[in-house]
Amino acid sequence: MSTSERDWVRVLDEDGTVVDGATVPDLDDDSLVEMYRSMRLARHFDGRAVSLQRQGRMGTYPPLSGQEAAQIGSAMALDEGDWIVPSYREHAAAYVRGVGLDQTLRYWMGDERGNRHAGLNVFPVAVPIATQVLHATGAAMAADLAGEDETFLCYFGDGATSEGDFHEGLNFAGVFDVPAVFFCNNNQWAISVPREKQTASATLAQKANAYGFEGVLVDGMDPLAVYQVTKDAVAKAKRPEESGDDAPGRATRPTLIEAVQYRFGAHTTADDPSVYRDDEEVERWKAKDPIPRLEAFLRERGILDDEAVEAIGTAIKDEVADAVEAAEGTERPAPADMFDHVHADRTERIDEQAAHLDRLRERYGDEELLE
């Protein structure tokens, strides 16, 4: 670890005890239980998703275990009209914002309809690294121009901070002082390249200084701390301070949050992390597992007991099983679907090609054609 843990904003220590001087965020009991339930759900979902891939029932999938607190704590801090602009690993954040688990499964099962979140303020996942940072900045500029009070929460990883689009996105955000929160899931590894090899900066959060706004370093495996720093950043995005002039370094709305965390599993199901990191490191980070931490806190407060924990365990299994059934039960997309939505209307040439595929299917049948 390149920085001292003492520098991280933290509410719960590794045992779930409130650290000295920390303030527990103002969340009612139901919200705290929901935070816990969502993390348990995400963990179980993740295991099932990896298993589906191993069984050949799903394509390549990027697991999130270990990163539940960062995703759920941050997404819960948004107001109803706010947006998330995810990368490709934020299944849990998307769930908090209303995206069904079955939808997420559909996408990773190769069905593009799983990327359509009608009516939700959720951007489609972005697979190229850091490209979505600019979309968040641009959409935040647009919302601001329209006079809407909406904040854009943009997720990316530690590797993304090396990309030009990260720099350009944050630079534009500072210059135009946009209502955006840039949330870096620093999970220590960009596939096999460690955080230390991405940058000589002591922290990723400090990069915000270069763009003229605030950077925050938080324990990304402490859901309460993540919730609080994101809540503060969202509030700041909505309440621009009068800076008085246009001098550089005066952007008051955007924030860069570096949530320090760890990916317990592989980068994707196509990756074998044992090649580049040892078990000892993984175990060290597992001591910070966000789920037992929050559970210990909630038990200590008398909000959870054995019975409630067990009931949640049963309910989440059912919910994930239902999602798998729904995703696998969805009819596969029709071959003609790929020709739709290229443009608002099909061009003549695309129409001809669609008709050509139809003729081939008719003549040879799918079995022979796809052999």
């Binding site: 489609p124 900045t137 689009d165 739709d340």
Partner: protein, 332 residues
């Protein structure tokens, strides 16, 4: 047709760009322009001159110097519901934005199954012949045409520029609008003050003829017409088709013309290999082979990196080279 007198202005092509932007911005508050030097400076070619005074800094935005930033934020704006018209100062500097264009702008509609769209027009001066420094003269239209989900437009007259730009801005999908800077100020034309559109995907027959069909676009249209006049003196009657939109391409007009003449020449500044002349030729082979009387000629840039300007006149097709190809086709 209205009998009412329409007032016109006598404009150059670059003035028609400005006029097109202005009239679309007046029509629709969602239209905004952004880019390097587009505000106070009015654009390095003056394509956005005076717009900031008229529409203010919220709709005419001077951005940091970052092409991916300009296009990427425009995609975010478009996804949110605006109609951004980003300017890339020279098409040779679009490559930093290439990832945003192909990975996101071109795919946003399809990958969200229509939930998000990208009504954005990326404008860029393009093409050679102005004695500019390195990286200021290339013609890369084929790269964008190859990318599903994009439309590609290259105007060749002031009148068309305004109408095609308006159609591009009103189009629900991303358009790459390449402006032939060689003819930015080459000539003037009457352009109506009122907004109007020219449909994308429709070529214009600039000269009718039966003997040979010459397909071209952008700055090559004028030398092609000159060559056509020159060979006409020897009784060769060329049809000159200005493609105007390169994607989607007006295949119907290409085939109609070719079926009449049975001979074709394709003229473009871009290098030969992988250039759109190959696409046009293949389309003719697929759809009209039995009308063909002679091999199809391609008059193009060479397969070399665009040379510095001491040699650019040798690189660029001009009327003599075009004439040579026309005669060869007719004599074959």
């Amino acid at each position: 047709m209205s009998t009412q007198e329409t007032s016109t202005q006598n404009l150059t092509l670059v003035q028609a760009v400005r006029d097109g932007l202005k009239s679309e911005m007046e029509r629709d508050d969602d239209v905004l322009v952004l880019g390097e030097d587009v505000g106070e400076n009015g654009g390095v070619f003056r394509a956005t001159e005076g717009l900031i005074e008229e529409f203010g800094g919220d709709r005419v935005i001077d951005t940091p110097l970052a092409e991916s930033g300009i296009v990427g934020t425009s995609i975010g704006m478009a996804a949110y519901g605006l109609r951004p018209v980003p300017e890339i100062q020279f098409s040779g500097f679009m490559y930093p934005a290439f990832d945003q264009i192909v990975s996101h702008a071109a795919r946003l509609r399809t990958r969200s199954r229509g939930r998000f769209t990208c009504p954005m027009v990326v404008r860029a001066p393009y093409g050679g012949g102005i004695r500019a420094p390195e990286h200021h003269a290339e013609s890369k239209e084929a790269i964008y045409v190859h990318e599903a989900g994009l439309k590609v437009v290259v105007p060749s007259t002031p009148y068309d520029t305004k109408g095609l730009l308006a159609a591009s801005i009103r189009d629900p999908d991303p358009v790459i609008f390449l402006e032939p800077k060689l003819i930015y100020r080459a000539f003037r034309e009457d352009v109506p003050e009122e907004p109007y559109t020219i449909d994308l995907g429709e070529a214009a027959v600039r000269r009718e003829g039966d003997d040979v069909s010459v397909f071209t676009w952008g700055a090559m249209t004028r030398p092609t017409l000159e060559a056509a006049e020159s060979v006409a003196e020897d009784g060769i009657d060329c049809e000159v088709v200005d493609m105007r939109t390169l994607s989607p391409m007006d295949t119907e007009t290409i085939l109609e013309s070719f079926k009449k003449s049975g001979r074709a020449v394709v003229v473009h500044e871009a290098p030969k290999t992988g250039g759109l002349a190959g696409e046009i030729t293949a389309t003719i082979q697929e759809e009209a082979l039995y009308y063909q009387e002679a091999p199809i000629e391609r008059v193009t840039g060479f397969d070399v990196p665009y040379p510095l300007y001491a040699l650019e006149d040798y690189y660029l097709p001009e009327d003599t080279r075009i004439e040579d190809a026309i005669r060869k086709t007719v004599e074959a």
